[in-house]
């Protein structure tokens, strides 16, 4: 167990060796290094193995419905801009069931960090193909192997105009922690797609598989060049780039609404029925 404010006594239900442990630890350390307090943080998730993160960390948590991690995060952040809102969920949750929220949440550019545990499989439901499963992968449903082109979350996020798009790997604790910190610090929506071995159901994309293929985007890589970022995002296979593909400053949702930006958080507003009384004049 780490030694952060974010530890809990709760025993995890993950398989020994699962990449989720590395992600959970990196998250706790990132929060710790950012000197955040548990009560200032809300972690939202859907349903899946990854989505159990809020169960195992000492922060506020909204463990909602499968595929629906992002809309509650959106509601939370809009009404209380002072909370750090983080989403941890699986790639099935995010890009499968929740695909529509994914693309539209990017468009809103709220200041939230989104950590996708991408094990290229549906873990909790025991091994069906997820949107990122490679072609040819056989499962109990895809008995002849997957035939759908895998979704490329990095390319997709870049095409949707996300202002921070990164990839990391549960097997590199340090890199992951640093990218998480950058994502949390980024002002705007930040996606980190995290390669995460599932030892029980994905015997192809193992720790070794990733380890053999990942490389780090070079220092001199220009993260503000969208076309370059897109080009790099298409790299997948023998070599898999890790790091921040794209990061630019962009006005956030809150920036655009004057009274949210300059006023107190919405939830701190005093409520008074009489404020609306004058609107009756419209009906006279």
């Amino acid at each position: 167990m780490l030694n952060t404010k974010f530890e809990t006594a709760k025993e995890t239900a993950w398989c020994p060796g699962c990449g989720d442990f590395g992600i959970l630890n990196a998250l706790k350390e990132a929060l710790n290094e950012l000197a955040l307090n548990p009560h200032e943080v809300v972690i939202c998730s859907g349903i899946g193995q990854a989505a159990k993160v809020p169960q195992y960390i000492n922060t506020n948590g909204f463990n909602g419905l499968h595929g629906r991690a992002l809309p509650p995060a959106t509601g939370i952040k809009i009404v209380n801009k002072n909370l750090k809102v983080i989403i941890n969920s699986g790639e099935g949750d995010t890009y499968g069931e929740g695909g529509n929220h994914f693309i539209h949440t990017i468009r809103r550019n709220l200041d939230i960090a989104h950590f996708v545990h991408d094990n290229q499989i549906y873990g909790l439901t025991k091994g069906q193909a997820s949107p990122t499963t490679n072609i040819g992968f056989r499962t109990g449903v895809q008995t002849n192997g997957v035939i759908l082109e895998p979704l490329n979350p990095i390319a997709l996020a870049i095409s949707m105009g996300a202002s921070f798009v990164a990839r990391s790997f549960s097997g590199d604790a340090e890199h992951l922690k640093e990218v998480m910190k950058a994502a949390i610090n980024h002002k705007g929506y930040a996606l980190v797609d995290i390669l995460q071995p599932c030892v029980s159901f994905n015997k192809i994309n193992t720790f070794k598989y990733y380890k053999d293929r990942v490389y780090y985007l070079p220092e001199e890589f220009d993260r503000t060049d969208r076309e370059e970022a897109f080009k790099r995002s298409l790299e997948w296979g023998d070599r898999i780039p890790l790091g921040i593909f794209y990061q630019v400053e962009k006005t956030t949702y809150i920036d655009c609404i004057d009274y949210l930006n300059n006023g107190p958080a919405l939830v701190d507003k005093e409520l008074n029925p009489m404020d609306a009384e004058k609107f009756m004049d419209d009906f006279k």
């Binding site: 169960q55 809309p71 509650p72 809009i78 009274y259 939830v267 609306a276 009906f283």
Partner: protein
């Protein structure tokens, strides 16, 4: 007195503005109006009509018989002239080819052209009607000033005057004097109620006829400093609302049946995470897309049973724009009191119908949050789902109490919100949640009683049918019929005291509903085993009118 004007034409002919302006003039003159809309699911063309009924007494329903038909196209005359009273008149443009003894054709279009703007054509007509009913051109000019400005305003004032001069006074009215009432429709009343109740976050996805609530709240968002967020779909809408509510906001969404279908899973979520939400379902006929712009009361059993397994919930149906305001505010209080989803059932008839009422008393609105304080919860680790006798657990919001965190979980959970597998704990949590239904049942309001106290015939209804039934029962009582009606507002949990009581007295029970099978009658049977065999059901997408109810009840008496 009780006048009824129909205004008919194609979508895009400006009928709504004509009706709104005329309605404002009549309201400000001191009358009560009842202004309902019948429109097609299209932006231009087709056949739409508005009906503007007014009287010096409060009105509760549209009526069939017409005094005046204002025809913006010839089709209007064909479709509606049968409903014209003997001494009624049809006002039409002089280029119409139809002839009929009751038609007065006037050169509206020519005048508009002369003024130099074909769009003022409607205002010319309004001027004419003002004159016919002996209403005040000054008031009309005041109203026009609120709608237009600059050159356009000048043209409209000119148009009103020209129209006013076109004809003489036709209906002899002595105008009443009370003038500060409001004319409001159901969607606006719900929106205003939400604002009064402190709704600071609204998320929705457009769906007729539920969009009006969103539009109304959005129109005030800047002034109040609140947020209306259009979601990518209804699933997102309710899940955003739940996030906002979890974080401490009073939050709401509105939709119609199709959108409600998509919210079903999140309604269950609201129930198990015990996070309040107010969901407005403005009903329209289905199934599926159905008849988008028409009315129905056909989602009752659906909303009562929506979502897998069982949750505590409250369903309030709206009977009238007056109560719509207060009930919406109440919905927010009860949602927070019990930490449940509250569904408000409205319908297109109520939503789009403007009625004149006394101004709302905003001092009656109390915002009761039922939030626990730091002191309430003490120093021990906070239990979001503490098992209590009432079933209600102290609720805090995240980020406000340093040192205290909590989570909500869609899985079955322990008192801290952590996922569990134990059958025992599951029982305790299920019982804790469902115990709230017992308290809610005490908060639930009995149906409104209308008519006789010792009735032979008992009518059962709910929601917006209230208005037409009220007028019908008054007529039946004038005929010395021993008739009463119970009109339910709160429908779930079903209040059963009055129905038990009156069903014993009455020889005959008849339900009157806007759906195919008689859904409230079913619910009453389910909850009380009182058989309701006679059921008057209407499902053509049109609202019951009081005359129709009156006639149908006479038939079965």
């Amino acid at each position: 007195m009780d006048y009824n004007i129909l205004l008919g034409g194609a979508a895009g002919q400006g009928m709504n503005t004509i009706g709104d302006v005329l309605g404002k003039v009549i309201t400000r003159t001191g009358y009560y109006i009842f202004f309902n809309k019948d429109y097609m699911s299209r932006v231009r063309g087709g056949h739409n009509f508005n009906q503007l009924r007014f009287s010096e007494k409060p009105l509760y329903s549209h009526k069939e018989k017409l005094d005046v038909i204002i025809a913006l196209n010839e089709e209007t005359i064909d479709k509606h002239k049968e409903r014209l009273m003997k001494d009624g008149i049809i006002v039409a443009s002089s280029d119409f080819k139809i002839t009929d003894e009751k038609i007065i054709t006037l050169p509206f279009k020519e005048i508009a052209k002369e003024i130099g703007n074909v769009k003022v054509f409607g205002t010319v007509i309004v001027g004419t009607i003002i004159k016919m009913f002996n209403l005040s051109l000054d008031i009309l000019e005041d109203v026009l000033k609120e709608y237009f400005s600059g050159e356009i305003l000048e043209m409209n004032i000119q148009a009103a005057q020209r129209g006013y001069e076109l004809t003489g006074n036709r209906f002899n009215l002595v105008h009443p004097n009370q003038k500060d009432r409001i004319t409001i429709n159901g969607n606006q009343a719900v929106g205003l109620g939400a604002l009064a109740a402190g709704c600071i976050f609204f998320s929705g996805y457009p769906m007729t006829p539920g969009t009006g609530v969103m539009n109304y709240i959005a129109s005030k968002q800047k002034e109040l400093g609140i947020v209306v967020e259009q979601a990518e779909d209804e699933i997102a809408a309710l899940n955003m609302v739940l996030g906002a509510s979890f974080a401490g906001a009073r939050a709401m969404t509105s939709t119609s049946g199709g959108g409600y279908s998509l919210m079903v899973e999140a309604i269950g979520l609201s129930g198990i995470i015990e996070t309040p939400a107010v969901i407005v379902n403005v009903q329209r006929p289905g199934p599926a897309t159905g008849l988008p712009t028409r009315t129905a009361q056909a989602d009752l059993k659906f909303v009562i049973n929506a979502a897998q397994d069982e949750i505590p919930r409250l369903i309030i149906s709206l009977r009238h724009a007056e109560e719509a305001f207060y009930q919406t505010a109440r919905a927010f209080n009860l949602a927070e009191k019990y930490q449940i989803p509250v569904t408000i059932l409205s319908d297109q008839y109520l939503a789009d119908t403007g009625v004149t009422i006394d101004p709302y008393d905003f001092t009656k609105i109390k915002i009761e949050r039922y939030l626990a304080t730091k002191e309430d919860i003490g120093e021990a680790p906070y239990k979001r789902y503490k098992i209590t006798d009432s079933g209600i657990s102290p609720r805090i919001i995240p980020g406000k109490i340093p040192g205290q965190v909590f989570m909500v979980d869609s899985d079955e959970h322990d008192e801290f919100g952590h996922i569990i597998e134990s059958g025992d704990l599951r029982n305790q949590m299920m019982e804790k949640r469902m115990r709230k239904m017992e308290l809610i049942a005490q908060d639930v309001q009995e149906p409104w009683h209308l008519g006789n106290l010792e009735p032979e015939v008992l009518l059962i209804a709910w929601g917006s049918t209230y208005g037409p039934i009220k007028e019908a029962v008054e007529l039946l009582e004038k005929d010395d019929k021993k008739v009463a009606a119970l009109v339910f507002g709160d429908v779930w949990p079903l209040p059963t005291k009055l129905i038990q009581e009156y069903s014993q007295k009455a020889k005959k029970i008849i339900s009157i509903e806007g759906n195919y099978s008689g859904q409230l009658a079913d619910v009453i049977q389910e909850k009380t085993c009182i058989p309701i065999k006679e059921r008057l059901n209407k499902y053509d997408g049109r609202p019951w009118s009081y005359d129709e109810i009156y006639r149908r009840i006479q038939e079965v008496l």
